[in-house]
Symmetry: C2
Subunit: 425 residues, 2 copies
């Protein structure tokens, strides 16, 4: 199969006017890259039938597949299906199954269905229909003379699952293949170093593909295989994942775990452990991130944010001597905070952050100096960070990176635990 060429056409005056950031284009572009489909253009046009028609003609003059987002809504200015069906010389017909699901959607939410919502079930004649469990507008595809138009809804939370569940198999249908991925999550190694270490592997990997995705303070590597079935895809990925583990396994904190806090909550739960946090410069960022995770209540005992020295002493039992001699931003204070919150809460692990998030140096400590401590019966540690990078919002960056390190240290401490959690304090 020759490489197909696709492009993305996002339709919507809200995007054109800048009221909405176009995250759909990035999402679809990534997925197409994964599928090995080439893509050279992305375009945005407003809800204007003339310009939409022109853009469509231009797109099909240079690409085989045009993927549109938006313009499937119930109002008069939602014209994607009308314009694209006309381009292919197709009529719009009422699709009974789609109509039923639009009706059911409103019934489930217990809200009356406006009459014009029926318009959303009008589909181009002979199109492949993609159901939308997260909204009212189904998507669809028209194939004609080697050209394919794929129409998807605008809201990202409707578009993305529809793409994953229906569009990917649709795009792969002629190949008879499935696409499977695993996400490998790394902490403690920068993107460029990781890329250098995995360079040869990434270069030579066509299928499975190996692609890094940088997130602030961590890196994810996605391994994707296209194969005739899931078992074959898994088999193809296994040696590649093995090779990655051999090269940078020490930084791997999980596979398909979502993020640091989810991995940490899962590990705490699996080990029967509870944690508590004491935060100064992060001001609740660590506890906020841990409690984002569903079910965190069973592993998170409590968190305290002690900005003032008085509260560090009063709540956490940090010694006046320590604060005087070493200052609030010191490894000694961090360690006493971690021990203090563990004692206060009765949790198995205490984790503490103290530092200077800026904007000004404080008590002689530079902006970006942060100490993070963990305390448990089986493991104690203090880590020093010096976060000094050019960033418009350095304060947020320092707080975020420090909270990531704290969560990571909590995860590592939980992983080390081997005993019976009922038996330790």
């Amino acid at each position: 199969m020759a490489t197909k060429r696709a492009e993305i056409l996002c339709i919507g005056t809200e995007i054109l006017m800048g009221d909405i950031v176009n995250t759909n284009a990035a999402y679809i572009a990534k997925e197409l890259t994964n599928l090995g489909i080439a893509m050279y253009h992305q375009t945005v046009v407003g809800d204007n039938p003339k310009r939409l028609k022109e853009s469509l003609e231009l797109a099909f003059s240079r690409s085989d597949i045009v993927i549109t987002t938006g313009g499937l809504g119930p109002t008069y200015d939602d014209l994607s299906k009308e314009t694209i069906a006309a381009y292919f010389g197709r009529k719009l017909l009422m699709d009974e199954e789609s109509l039923q699901s639009v009706i059911e959607f409103h019934e489930k939410l217990n809200i009356p269905m406006p009459e014009n919502n029926k318009k959303q079930a009008l589909m181009p004649e002979g199109s492949v229909i993609f159901p939308n469990p997260n909204g009212t507008a189904p998507g669809c595809a028209i194939e004609h003379d080697g050209k394919t138009a794929i129409m998807l809804p605008g809201p990202p939370r409707e578009m993305a699952p529809m793409f994953d569940h229906y569009v990917v198999p649709f795009l792969l249908k002629d190949s008879g293949k499935v696409l499977l991925s695993h996400n490998l999550h790394f902490y403690g190694i920068g993107e460029s170093l990781l890329e250098t270490k995995l360079h040869d592997l990434m270069e030579k990997s066509q299928n499975p593909t190996v692609a890094p995705y940088a997130k602030t303070g961590e890196v994810m590597v996605r391994v994707s295989a296209m194969a005739k079935d899931a078992a074959e895809a898994e088999q193809m990925m296994e040696p590649i994942i093995g090779e990655i583990k051999e090269t940078v396994g020490e930084f791997l904190y999980g596979i398909d775990v979502g993020d640091l806090q989810t991995a940490t909550v899962r590990t705490l739960k699996a080990k029967g452990l509870r944690a508590a946090t004491a935060e100064s410069c992060t001001g609740g960022y660590v506890s906020k991130r841990l409690t984002e995770v569903n079910g965190s209540s069973s592993v998170f005992e409590c968190g305290v944010c002690t900005y003032s020295n008085r509260m560090k002493r009063q709540l956490l039992g940090v010694k006046e001597f320590t604060l005087q001699k070493f200052s609030a931003v010191s490894p000694e204070t961090a360690a006493e905070m971690a021990a203090g919150v563990r004692k206060l809460s009765g949790a198995h692990i205490g984790v503490a952050v103290t530092g200077n998030a800026g904007p000004e140096p404080s008590e002689g400590k530079p902006v970006g100096l942060v100490y993070i401590a963990v305390d448990s019966e089986w493991h104690k540690d203090v880590f020093e960070m010096n976060i000094n990078r050019r960033d418009e919002n350095l304060r947020e960056m320092i707080r975020y990176l420090a909270s990531s390190r704290a969560i990571y240290m909590l995860l590592k401490t939980a992983e080390q635990f081997q005993g019976n959690s009922e038996a330790v304090k």
Copy 2:
């Protein structure tokens, strides 16, 4: 002056491949709307000179002004200036001032300057140069035969300030006008209701313009005036802002204040007050947001996250009776938590959140039921929220909206304070 038509051409393989979400397009689109410049197309192309040239030709065939982002970097595939200068038949010349600033930029960061960074100071002959204090690549503009090309760097934190400081005046230079804006921040009124109430004002306002911007849980209205100088612009905006205040002033929490937490920290500081937080379902979100603000340490005494009932009793002194009779998710518990954290910390105001952020009902309380309480000598209050909307990430939504309400109640409590903060507990 006839309305000019502009379009945006974003250049970069990272955007095309979906590695970066194109926030620049939305930013520029908003600014152009503010300036009354029409915009009908946005395009993304990769770092490919042939396709860049084609896109440029297409863009100038339908627009007067083409604004590019990206491709100003030091590497061989950064080709925006080369391609656009060639399109206009201009040579690239070394601009000594830009070269000096690239050199100084590296000196300031104390890093050696790679030789190819000099390329960034090569500017099209006869172009207007836009300095870049936040990076190494200056921007520039070429005007020729009624067509204008504006080239801006790709990183948003370099592009956005350059746009505000240099491109806006450049675009206004022929008009001899300046553009000034005020941002009015609202809480407690939905975007659609606010739009309905301000509909006539928004319709009739050409200059100043009145435009709403929705944020999760709040709304901002931007009033912008174009005038011959700042004084005239202010004078034009004054009656409009007055009219808005008359209509929806009860929901206005600040003008040009940034966000809820910044407004709150400023008010606390101005009144000499200190606050403390007690959080259950928000797990530190309130304290995290308050401590985001520079200088919050002087007004934030401490925060506690008491997920477990035991910690609610032990740290905050919530009564066993209250937890048993009314449950942890109740107005009674919220009020005792707020009073408890005020007592614990010695702060002037305590604010507390308790609720069920999901995913499952708990102790018979539905997902999305949250109680928020404030406690001070001069004002006590409890607020009930029922957050039940369709959202992919309802837990995050509940936690965010509840934290906003808590910060808002803290702000309102601080605003009500009239006395001497030294005299109250």
